[in-house]
């Protein structure tokens, strides 16, 4: 956040020790001209963020005004500053899945929502994501799911990425599931899915392969429609 990019860890530690033992020296020994200390940094970070107007959002997303109002009220209640950072996101997610560790999956979902990858989720990004998921076409939703699985965003889903996602999902179940979850479970699961989706057997799944497989599978198409939400 502030200009500490040129620091080495040991140099910083040395400075901290000097500052703690001899506080008056802080003013005289201004290494790197850093005027911020831990507490002040925190205060600087509180930024107020205002979303775009209601009409614009209404146009861009598929929600009505009333729905947007309700959504924003809930959003602002939980995040008064107007943006969600990943920590808060993980906390909120954890409340829904108390028995397991949902932080990994929450991380991936966060990245998928966060289009500009700036580490925080604004209300617009939130609304756009939800608009796709609850009101979008099958194609849009499949695109979103593909983006979720494609962690590094290169357009291909490798086996490692798929393993990461699947193990994140299993983690949400928690340790005390019936039957027990171990590494083989995830491996088998990934094998199964990869086998199904990787048509040309080149070790990665492209978007077209993904679409093809999902369209053909009735369970998946039906499943995509389950989570339609009426606010």
């Amino acid at each position: 956040m502030c200009g500490r990019t040129g620091d080495s860890k040991s140099g910083r530690m040395f400075r901290m020790i000097i500052y703690r033992l001899f506080p008056p020296l802080r003013k005289h020994l201004l290494f790197n001209k850093e005027k911020n200390h831990d507490l002040e940094d925190l205060e600087m970070q509180v930024v107020r963020y205002k979303p775009e107007g209601l009409d614009v959002l209404c146009r861009k997303s598929k929600f009505t005004r009333k729905e947007l109002q309700i959504m924003y009220r809930g959003f602002k209640q939980e995040c008064p500053t107007g943006i969600v950072n990943e920590e808060t996101f993980k906390e909120i997610y954890a409340q829904f899945f108390p028995q397991g560790d949902s932080s990994a999956y929450a991380h991936y979902v966060f990245n998928t929502f966060d289009h500009d990858r700036n580490g925080s989720l604004s209300f617009e990004e939130f609304v756009m994501g939800l608009s796709v998921l609850s009101r979008g076409t099958l194609q849009e939703r499949l695109q979103w799911a593909f983006n979720l699985y494609d962690i590094n965003g290169d357009g291909f889903i490798t086996k490692d990425e798929m393993t990461d996602i699947v193990s994140a999902i299993y983690e949400m179940m928690g340790r005390f599931s019936e039957p027990m979850v171990d590494e083989n479970t995830t491996k088998e699961h990934v094998e199964r899915v990869f086998h199904k989706m990787d048509i040309n057997r080149d070790g990665v799944i492209t978007f077209d392969e993904f679409m093809e497989t999902c369209r053909r599978d009735e369970n998946i198409t039906k499943g995509m429609a389950i989570f339609d939400t009426v606010l």
């Binding site: 009333k66 309700i70 959504m71 009220r73 809930g74 959003f75 209640q77 939980e78 909120i92 997610y93 409340q95 829904f96 999956y105 991936y108 979902v109 998928t112 939130f126 994501g129 939800l130 998921l133 609850s134 939703r141 499949l142 979103w144 799911a145 979720l148 699985y149 798929m162 996602i165 699947v166 999902i169 699961h189 199964r192 899915v193 989706m197 993904f210 497989t213 999902c214 369970n219 998946i220 039906k222 499943g223 995509m224 389950i226 989570f227 939400t229 009426v230 606010l231």
Partner: protein
């Protein structure tokens, strides 16, 4: 779960990511046919101050009053809002709990009032947020301690006990209540002092014996006198201990208590000495037993409250004392070791071992500095300097904690004593104020009768509505009781004042359920009927001579049974002093005229 309801649609939407990798087909969702109630605003009127919230905000906590349908009991149809007759200032905090999910405790509010509000609205005090919870708990503890103090002191004054044993126990515990107890208290105190003084003087050299150069201790010279003194003291102590043991309600508990242990330790050496005085081998051990006689001085703690407080403080600061001890031990060992190795090679050094160095370290750290052991090397001197500096620090640290604990407990006791003293004065003042208002009862009685007389003689009567319905019904109830018991209430009695005192409490507890109070006796529910039909019963004169008796409930019941008959005809005669005989011919109410 604060406002997660708002995020649930989002969580559901993000679950789309599971679909492509799902092993089994996912179940379809529950479809809700009814149209979801749009979010509407609820108006809550608390003693005139209007609050408005979204319905969903309140529904966040369905196990509270506002979140459940319990609030329907408070719905006002005309104004279309929910009316609560409570404190609006405190309600603000309750509502904030729904809004933010955190319950705060306002520091300037009374804890009891806040607790009442919380219990009214069905919120557990444990939900108070971390920022305010400590403060809340501290104040709650203070209040409870105060209550316990008051209760303890109160109980001492009630309960007349006839049992000799219990009376004796009371005397022992509170010597101030009777002269016998006080005498006993001072006598034992005196003998404790005598015994301790004797122990001390016993060892002073009494003067040179003529003819020799010996200067023996007084105890050896006047052995017989001291022995008699000791015997007398021990007999008194034994008698006291046995009496206490007899009077104690729970003997096992008494025997385990600290004071009784001290008593036993104080008198045992004497008896042991009696038994083994012949055997010379053991007499050495016997002499050391005499050391325990000094424990008699602890018996003084029964006589001194300050000493008890000190003991209690030390007990409650046990952890600080333990910490002090531990850190001192650590420091002593470190410095002693370093000192030993520094001074080892000096000629004729006193630091011959590390335990020897312990003594030096202790003396230096507590800044005593006897000077019997001093370092001679430079390294030793440096270490010695560091030792004394650190000693000051280490000892000074836990001491303020102990001091503040002592101060707190001491002041608490002071406050408790002050409260006890003030309480008597307060009760006396309240009683005087009620005496004044007790006359109001009589005057209202007179008013009712005058109104009756006026109505009888056909005069225009002023609006009876001015009189409080509650008062009229209460009045009527007591009159019924008077009729039942053939007695009249006496204006001079204190009990009458109690009626007036209790009126406000009746208002608080239950408006519709008039429970009669001790002034008039046990009474029944005669006041349930409307005043008009029973106003006949108010024909009672005001000459009040006889004191009220405790209510005879069977009579009241019989009277109530008989009042079910139709009310007797209104006496048309103008004589208002006709005794009321039609209901119960047998029960002629003796009314003495004014």
């Amino acid at each position: 779960m604060a406002s997660v309801a708002a995020w649930l649609p989002f969580a559901r939407a993000s679950a789309i990511g599971w679909v492509p990798v799902a092993s089994n087909p996912l179940p379809p969702p529950m479809v809700r046919q009814e149209d979801r109630r749009g979010d509407e605003k609820i108006t809550i009127n608390v003693s005139g101050r209007v609050f408005e919230v979204w319905r969903t905000t309140l529904e966040k906590y369905p196990d509270t009053l506002l979140g459940s349908n319990e609030k329907d009991f408070f719905y006002d149809e005309e104004c279309k809002d929910y009316f609560f007759d409570r404190d609006p200032e405190l309600f603000r905090h309750i509502l904030n709990y729904y809004r933010t999910g955190k319950l705060h405790y306002p520091k300037h509010e009374c804890l009891a009032a806040y607790d009442e509000e919380l219990s009214f609205f069905g919120i557990l005090p444990d939900l108070i947020g971390d920022c305010c919870y400590e403060d809340y708990r501290d104040r709650k503890r203070e209040n409870q301690e105060r209550l316990i103090d008051d209760k303890n002191s109160e109980n001492g004054h009630l309960e007349p006990v006839a049992n000799l044993r219990e009376r004796m126990w009371r005397w022992f515990e509170n010597p101030h209540i009777g002269t016998a107890a006080l005498v006993f208290y001072y006598v034992t105190g005196f003998f404790i002092a005598v015994s301790v003084m004797a122990n001390v003087i016993e060892t002073i050299p009494c003067g040179v014996i003529k003819g020799t150069h010996e200067n023996p201790a007084c105890g050896e010279r006047f052995e017989a006198i001291f022995f008699c003194l000791d015997t007398a003291c021990v007999m008194i102590f034994t008698a006291e201990y046995l009496l206490r043991l007899y009077a104690a309600p729970d003997r096992c508990k008494f025997m385990r208590s600290v004071m009784s242990v001290i008593d036993v330790v104080a008198i045992l050496p004497y008896y042991i000495g009696l038994v083994i005085t012949d055997n010379d081998d053991v007499s050495g051990a016997f002499v050391t037993l005499r050391v325990f006689r000094v424990f008699r001085i602890f018996k003084f703690s029964r006589h001194s409250q300050g000493l008890r407080i000190l003991g209690y403080t030390l007990k409650s600061c046990a952890s600080e004392l333990g910490f002090l001890l531990f850190s001192l031990t650590m420091a002593i060992i470190i410095f002693a070791t370093v000192m030993f190795y520094a001074e080892r090679n000096v000629e004729d050094t006193k630091f011959i071992s590390i335990p020897e160095a312990f003594w030096y370290t202790i003396v230096t750290m507590t800044t005593l500095g006897y000077g019997d052991m001093v370092p001679k090397t430079i390294a030793g001197k440096i270490v010695g300097g560091l030792c004394s500096l650190s000693g000051v620090l280490v000892i000074a640290l836990p001491v303020p904690v102990i001091v503040s604990n002592f101060s707190r407990i001491y002041h608490q006791n002071q406050r408790a004593d002050k409260r006890k003293a003030q309480k008597k004065a307060r009760i006396a003042r309240i009683r005087m104020a009620k005496n004044a208002s007790g006359a109001a009862f009589i005057s209202s009685k007179k008013r009712a009768e005058e109104a009756m007389r006026a109505r009888e003689s056909g005069l225009e009567v002023e609006d009876l509505k001015n009189q409080d319905t509650l008062e009229m019904q209460h009045h009527h109830l007591l009159s019924c009781l008077e009729k039942t018991t053939r007695r009249n209430t006496d204006s001079d009695q204190d009990d009458l004042n109690d009626i007036q005192i209790r009126l406000p409490t009746i208002n608080r507890s239950s408006r519709s359920n008039l429970n009669a109070v001790s002034g008039g006796g046990g009474g029944g529910g005669g006041g349930a009927t409307t005043p008009n039909s029973k106003s006949n019963n108010l024909t009672v004169t005001t000459a009040i001579v006889t004191p009220p008796t405790p209510s005879t409930t069977p009579e009241t019941e019989s009277l109530l049974a008989q009042t079910d008959q139709s009310p007797p005809p209104y006496p048309q005669t103008s004589s208002t002093q006709t005794p009321y005989t039609s209901q119960n011919p047998g029960d002629v109410v003796k009314i003495s005229s004014l």
